[in-house]
């Protein structure tokens, strides 16, 4: 499904701001894998997802989606295979466009766009049904501008948009981090449901260790631009937050002094 082979990326190479963000990341996801990604600030989690999405070209290595090396494709072309939800609820939607127009844009991800109507009548009914599933009352506000929605509503909508046309890979980068705990739990639950129902292959970055353990069938930990730990199946299910913290110290040789991660240790989700 998705395979990264020795992916490297250095930002601002040759300047005093040089930053080796990815130091040879390799991972192979099987179809239907739901991988949670944890690691300290600056570990390279977002950079890994951005590399897959093609936000910028990688320096070396290969990114293979469905057997095709996509490292040479620009972001908008790679979008044909990828659905994304971002940390900032503002990033994933067009605020000045209607809810149904946003969905119509997402529906055409990866298709050539021409001079036929941007949204057709039949689509409206389809979107109405899908929005109902979110249980947020959005189905009655389809012609409202997305800018009027709350952060949680926007994230739920973005999630729907990312999966409206089934993506080969779904990338979730701390997509609940900007939400209040209750809304975050709801969006997370929705993510689970959508991923399961559509048998999606997904990567989810989170700072919440218990969420990382609870969700998905595989967990990877990153540090310093490397994957330092990779578990799946039974072994993952039996993980505890304390075991993860231990693993981190063991693998990185330092304590995980990351406020957000330590905080979330006590935060069951």
């Amino acid at each position: 499904m998705l395979e990264l082979i020795d992916v490297k990326k250095t930002f601002n190479a040759g300047t005093i701001n040089e930053k080796k963000a990815l130091n040879g990341v390799s991972i192979k996801l099987d179809e239907g894998d739901f991988v949670t990604i944890i690691g300290g600030n600056g570990a390279g989690k977002s950079t890994t997802l951005n590399a897959v999405a093609g936000v910028w070209p990688i320096d070396s290595g290969a990114i293979i989606i469905n057997g095709k090396n996509v490292a040479g494709l620009p972001e908008h072309k790679r979008a044909a295979f990828i659905g994304r939800v971002f940390q900032d609820p503002m990033t994933g939607t067009a605020a000045t466009m209607e809810i149904q127009e946003n969905l119509a844009l997402a529906k055409r991800r990866g298709n050539p766009r021409g001079l036929s109507w941007g949204i057709k009548r039949a689509e409206r009914e389809e979107y109405h049904e899908l929005l109902k599933m979110l249980d947020l009352g959005l189905e009655d506000r389809m012609t409202s501008k997305v800018g009027l929605l709350s952060g949680g509503q926007r994230q739920a909508l973005t999630l729907l948009m990312a999966t409206l046309k089934k993506p080969d890979i779904l990338l979730l980068d701390e997509h609940t981090a900007a939400l209040d705990p209750k809304t975050a739990a709801k969006v997370l639950e929705l993510s689970d449901k959508i991923i399961e129902e559509n048998h999606l292959t997904a990567m989810m970055v989170t700072h919440n260790m218990s969420a990382a353990i609870k969700h998905g069938n595989r967990l990877i930990m990153m540090n310093g631009g490397h994957i330092i730990y990779d578990v799946k199946g039974e072994e993952k299910k039996n993980l505890t937050v304390d075991m993860l913290l231990e693993k981190f110290e063991e693998a990185s040789g330092m304590a995980l002094s990351n406020d957000r991660m330590l905080l979330s240790k006590h935060n069951d989700m």
Binding site: R84, G92, A94, A95, T96, L105, R113, L115, I119, M161
Partner: protein, 333 residues
């Protein structure tokens, strides 16, 4: 002379000027619709228009002078404007030159281009010798309603057709990509939209309309000159902003896309209306550009200041001070 007589003669003068004001306002309104596409939809401050309006005017005028049918000359003016927009778009997306600068560079380059097209700093064309689509000479009230009414009617018709076409275009899949690019380019790319391409297309379309309006303007005023576009962007912005303020006041929640385009064109009329009034009051035409700059400043500043008046640091400080009276000293001690 008594006051009534003065008022009457002023009103007559104003009435006589009205058809001209409306025609000219609508022609600039077309340019303003072009500005609306870049400034409002694409969120790109495009300064190319000061040059591309002149290019449209020069191309149309020279073609008509050489016996080319007017409608072909207007298509050519549109195409010339498109080309100007293309240059700005490529400077921005291909060469990474910031939007404002890209527009300024094209605009400056076009000054030479326009001069070359015209062959001299200005050229005139007579409505008596050529079958011009529009002419200010025909909008005189003395010519009778049938004549000036039709002249104004043609302007209204052109604006109506353009509004309809743009309404259709921005409702298509392609139009959606431009709107999404202007609103949130990250989201647009994540949805598979080539944002560079849609940026270029929007600039091409916008400047095409500006070129077309230049072609109409040259016919209307009976000449084209290299300076005809100087400050055009400011008039365009004035029309866009006046139209927006007026439209949202009148239409409220029903201020949809068609209304926005129509009100932008209306903004052009209102701009010329106000200009006519202040000139009749005695403003020297020397100060036209100063006037247009001031209009834009006022219309941009009023909403900002009104908003700021509701929530300002000054007010917050005052409120805080009144709450803190008699408290501060004792607590500090």
């Amino acid at each position: 002379m008594n006051l009534l007589a003065i008022l009457q003669s002023e009103l007559t003068q104003f009435g006589n000027a009205l058809p001209g004001v409306i025609s000219q306002g609508l022609i600039w309104g077309i340019m303003a619709i072009g500005v609306y596409i870049t400034y409002k939809i694409l969120d790109f401050p495009d300064l190319t228009v000061d040059g591309s309006i002149g290019t449209g005017g020069a191309v149309a005028l020279m073609l008509i002078l050489n016996g080319v049918p007017v409608w072909i000359a207007l298509i050519a003016a549109f195409a010339a404007g498109c080309l100007a927009g293309l240059v700005t778009g490529l400077l921005n997306t291909l060469l990474g030159i910031p939007g404002i600068l890209a527009g300024i560079l094209t605009q400056i380059a076009l000054y030479s281009v326009n001069l070359a097209i015209l062959g001299s700093a200005n050229k005139s064309i007579s409505v008596d010798k050529f079958p011009l689509l529009l002419s200010s000479r025909r909008v005189a009230v003395s010519g009778g309603f049938a004549v000036f009414g039709w002249e104004v009617g043609k302007c209204v018709l052109i604006v109506a057709v353009l509004t309809a076409v743009l309404y259709w275009f921005f409702g298509t899949e392609y139009g959606f990509t431009i709107r999404a690019t202007g609103c949130n380019s990250n989201m647009a790319r994540a949805q598979g939209i080539n944002t560079k391409k849609s940026t270029v297309i929007a600039l091409v379309l916008s400047n095409g309309l500006v070129g077309l309006s230049g072609g109409l303007l040259a016919q209307y005023q009976g000449f084209a000159d290299v300076n005809m576009g100087r400050g055009a962007i400011v008039i365009g912005l004035a029309a866009v902003i006046i139209g927006e303020v007026l439209g949202s006041a009148i239409m409220g929640k029903r201020f949809n896309f068609v209304a926005r385009l129509a009100f932008t064109a209306t903004g052009g009329i209102i701009y010329y209306l106000v200009l006519q009034i202040v000139m009749q009051i005695g403003l020297d035409s020397t100060y036209n550009k100063l006037f247009s700059a001031i209009v834009v400043v006022i219309f941009l500043a009023v909403p900002y200041i009104r908003n700021a008046a509701k929530t300002s640091y000054g007010r917050a400080a005052k409120n805080a001070a009144s709450r803190a009276i008699g408290k501060g000293d004792s607590e500090d001690a």
